[in-house]
């Protein structure tokens, strides 16, 4: 294992009963890069993502984050380590404003409990002010500054995706894991998302995205891993992956070859 990798996954295996959804998958990301994970439907992308983020337990293999074993670390504790994820399916916090939703992401940056909140101690007020400013900055960064006081569930889908990213960014992550961030977006919105993701990388953050939108992946990823039937089929730069005959056969050109 090389120490230069921020995320290092070795031999990750996941079985559902008799079905092997992931078969000894290796995956590594260097700091400051955008890594893409692609593959045909049922290739195991979502399973890989869920095991990587701790939602599902794995059946074998190791996940290292910055040299530390991640297996068994609770999802909420991973945020403190500097790893945050978004969901493909949008889960707005009903009844909360956009600003409040982002402030949920400040949770690990503070410590105020119930009693200090009831007494509204000066330290709590100061913490709230810090949260509010961090949340506003994060919203402005993704372009939702003007929607701060709107109810989160009233936002259109494209804005919901940006809100998720703002929530994730405010946790001050070192790596963001994005599950299909472009799903449901139109071409304009996808283009703006690409710019946003590149701007996030500019800040020195690392990104991993599972994505169906091939042009987005090819455009912004430094490195792409292709999964097929639970195995790693290929790994490399967008150009290498694009030219890989196995990838073309299994994924891009499968329709024509089988016809």
């Amino acid at each position: 294992m090389t120490s230069s990798q921020l995320i290092d996954v070795q031999g990750l295996t996941k079985k559902f009963g008799g079905v092997t959804a992931l078969d000894k998958v290796d995956f590594a990301v260097q700091p400051g890069q955008i890594a893409g994970l692609i593959g045909p439907n049922g290739a195991g992308k979502s399973t890989f993502f869920n095991v990587l983020t701790g939602v599902l337990p794995g059946n074998g293999g190791e996940i290292h984050f910055d040299g530390k074993r991640l297996d068994g670390v609770q999802p909420h504790d991973r945020v403190r380590l500097g790893m945050v994820r978004t969901f493909q399916k949008i889960h707005p916090f009903y009844g909360m404003t956009v600003l409040e939703s982002v402030m949920v992401g400040c949770h690990t940056r503070g410590s105020a409990g119930i009693l200090p909140a009831m007494l509204r101690l000066p330290a709590v007020k100061a913490e709230e002010q810090r949260f509010r400013e961090a949340a506003k900055a994060s919203l402005a960064f993704v372009g939702l500054g003007a929607q701060a006081d709107v109810l989160a569930d009233a936002l259109p889908l494209g804005h919901q995706r940006l809100l998720q990213i703002a929530c994730g960014l405010v946790t001050e992550p070192r790596v963001m894991l994005l599950d299909e961030p472009a799903s449901g977006l139109d071409a304009n919105e996808t283009a703006r998302l690409a710019d946003l993701l590149l701007a996030i990388r500019e800040q020195g953050k690392t990104l991993v995205l599972v994505e169906h939108d091939m042009s987005l992946v090819m455009k912004i990823c430094d490195q792409i891993t292709v999964l097929s039937f639970g195995r790693r089929l290929a790994n490399g730069s967008p150009d290498e992956v694009r030219r890989n005959p196995k990838v073309i056969e299994a994924y891009l050109g499968s329709g024509e070859h089988r016809a």
Binding site: P75, V79, F87, F93, M96, V104, G105, A140, F141
Partner: protein, 327 residues
């Protein structure tokens, strides 16, 4: 409808009504509304658990009973001063809630509802059968009046003011709770657990904390109950009390700040004005409960708020201007 009371105006109106009410109501209605205040105290805590954290308890009547019995036993049998007894009752009940909640709230599903229901039934049975300690069906008569720093709450009217003072303070504190780091975590996990956890919220810890807090509110109401009636009896806290508490939440508006207060006043008023129909109280509460679920799913307060908001719906994006800090 263009005018809408501000938060401060609404709170001042509430305080004014609570203060002035005894001047107009009879002694009997003051007693009834003191009871309403006690229910409001429990409902405010229960609302944070059910309405904001999305977990259901059927054991808050037992937490009331624990508060009342510990207060009653310590003051009557052991001659403790009421405030010391109250402190032990409230902290002790919080500890019991922690011991129940800590293992149960780790698992998903409605286990909390089932376990608290079983716990409550055990507490009520023990309270009426363990005669040496609880006085059995006779209960504990002669609970002394509460006195704080030499001021004796020795009339129903004084207790009415004390109870509503506590209820309004807890009501105001619940605004602070909801609008805090903890409260946002609570609301987020009530909306979607995995999404809240993905942002660093320790879902289990938050749920345990709010469960314990709501049990503490119930215990406090139980203590005040004991000193208010100068008497403790297990039948005061049977399952029908829990049903009434749930009806208060549903009718008032689950997950609204004013719901517990409005629901408590409404339902206690109804329950005391049944007259000859008192024996049908369970049926009447059932109808209110079901009727509210069917026709007022947001409760009285939720419905009023929705109407007011609908009348002055501001277009999205017209929110406060935020200085753009485009990167």
């Amino acid at each position: 409808m263009s005018w809408r009371p501000t938060h401060t105006q609404s709170v001042l109106a509430l305080i004014a009504v609570a203060v002035v009410f005894p001047f107009f109501g009879s002694a009997a209605t003051v007693t009834v509304m003191a009871l309403g205040g006690l229910y409001a105290i429990v409902a405010i805590g229960l609302n944070l658990l059910v309405g904001y954290a999305g977990k259901i308890s059927f054991g808050h009547n037992a937490f009331m009973a624990l508060g009342a019995y510990v207060s009653g036993i310590l003051t009557v049998t052991y001659g403790w001063p009421p405030l010391a007894a109250m402190l032990v009752a409230v902290v002790g009940t919080g500890l019991v809630a922690f011991l129940i909640g800590a293992p149960i709230l780790r698992v998903r599903g409605h286990y909390l509802a089932m376990i608290t229901l079983a716990f409550a039934q055990i507490i009520i049975i023990v309270s009426t059968r363990w005669t040496e300690v609880t006085g059995g069906l006779t209960g504990i008569p002669g609970v002394p009046d509460l006195s704080i720093f030499g001021f004796a709450f020795d009339t129903k009217l004084r207790m009415y003011y004390l109870i509503w003072f506590v209820a309004i303070v807890l009501f105001l504190l619940s605004f602070r709770i909801v609008d805090s780091r903890f409260g946002r975590a609570l609301r987020a996990l009530g909306a979607h657990e995995a999404a809240a956890a993905s942002l660093g919220v320790d879902v289990v810890r938050c749920r345990i904390q709010i469960f314990v807090l709501s049990a503490v509110y119930a215990a406090l109401a139980g203590c005040l109950y004991a000193h208010f009636l100068n008497y403790v009896n297990g039948t005061f806290f049977d399952l029908s009390v829990m049903i009434q508490l749930m009806a208060i939440l549903v009718v008032g508006g689950i997950g609204t700040m004013w719901g517990p207060l409005v629901g408590a006043v409404l339902l206690v008023w109804v329950s005391q004005n049944l007259g000859g129909y008192a024996e049908y109280s369970q049926l009447i509460f059932g109808i209110l409960y079901g009727g509210a679920l069917l026709f007022l799913p947001k409760g009285v307060v939720g419905e009023i708020t929705a109407r007011l908001n609908g009348a002055r719906k501001a277009p999205a994006g017209q929110a406060e201007p935020v200085p753009s800090q485009s990167a």
